[in-house]
Symmetry: C2
Subunit: 153 residues, 2 copies
């Protein structure tokens, strides 16, 4: 049996924490040929998605793949994000959560130690392309105030 | 509603990951007046416990308190560890897991950033006081090879 990384377990943990605390879980991911996201939803090669139960349907956070349906511009889309592409999961309301090293991602520093991650900017995270409750939540995480994310490898 | 910390969620996540992967989850905690552990089981103010389902009965990892029963020297004991006292949870087999900042604990560096934590030594972690499958698993975590733990605050 191949050992599964702790990453999907930690993503599920932070997602559950957000939901239990009444926070909105935002998932930041690198968009590449392995991701399925609506055309034009990525910015600078990344996407930030509201993965709360209110904003998604049939959300599944598996050990390899995160899948769900969400509305963009009023149109339902199916999304698929490999766990390996996930850069961060955090609460929109306070930025608390967890960031991960992703090759080619914004957090892709190759240093071996854990580091303080770039925190999503609350402002950019609240932009939505079309005002739907679901969908792309803003641009890629950028350095900002209120950083609570730590990179975990 | 008071916001619960992410810590108990992360402890449950690593515990579940260990169990799913067939690893033995070891929990390191600071022993003080808030903990209930068998007399003499602590070393240097800390205890390392096997919290696998094979080694415990009625294990509950709550948001505030971790409780279970385990055998020490053939005698069943009830244990209670506040989540705040937990220094680390990791797989005995490879040291992978997560470490936390605990005031007064071995990992109690007050630096604000995340850091590489002291990894438990595989050797000391395999000592058991009486050869039971359950119970105190060794001394407090010390710096060692194969460190995979990162401190999360």
């Amino acid at each position: 049996m191949t050992t599964v990384s702790t990453k999907p377990y930690l993503i599920r943990a932070i997602h559950e924490w957000c939901v239990d605390q009444g926070f909105t879980p935002y998932l930041a991911a690198v968009v590449d040929r392995n991701t399925l996201v609506p055309p034009g939803a990525a910015r600078d090669g990344q996407i930030v998605l509201n993965v709360g139960y209110d904003a998604t349907h049939e959300l599944s956070i598996g050990n390899e793949l995160i899948t769900f349906q969400a509305r963009f511009g009023g149109v339902a889309h199916s999304l698929a994000i490999p766990v390996g592409n996930v850069v961060a999961i955090y609460a929109r309301e306070n930025g608390q959560g967890m960031a991960f090293e992703v090759e080619g991602g914004a957090a892709g520093d190759e240093d071996d130690g854990a580091e303080e991650a770039a925190a999503p900017e609350a402002g950019s995270a609240e932009e939505t392309p079309d005002g739907d409750s679901a969908g792309a939540a803003g641009s890629r995480p950028a350095g900002g105030r209120g950083s609570h994310l730590k990179i975990v490898k």
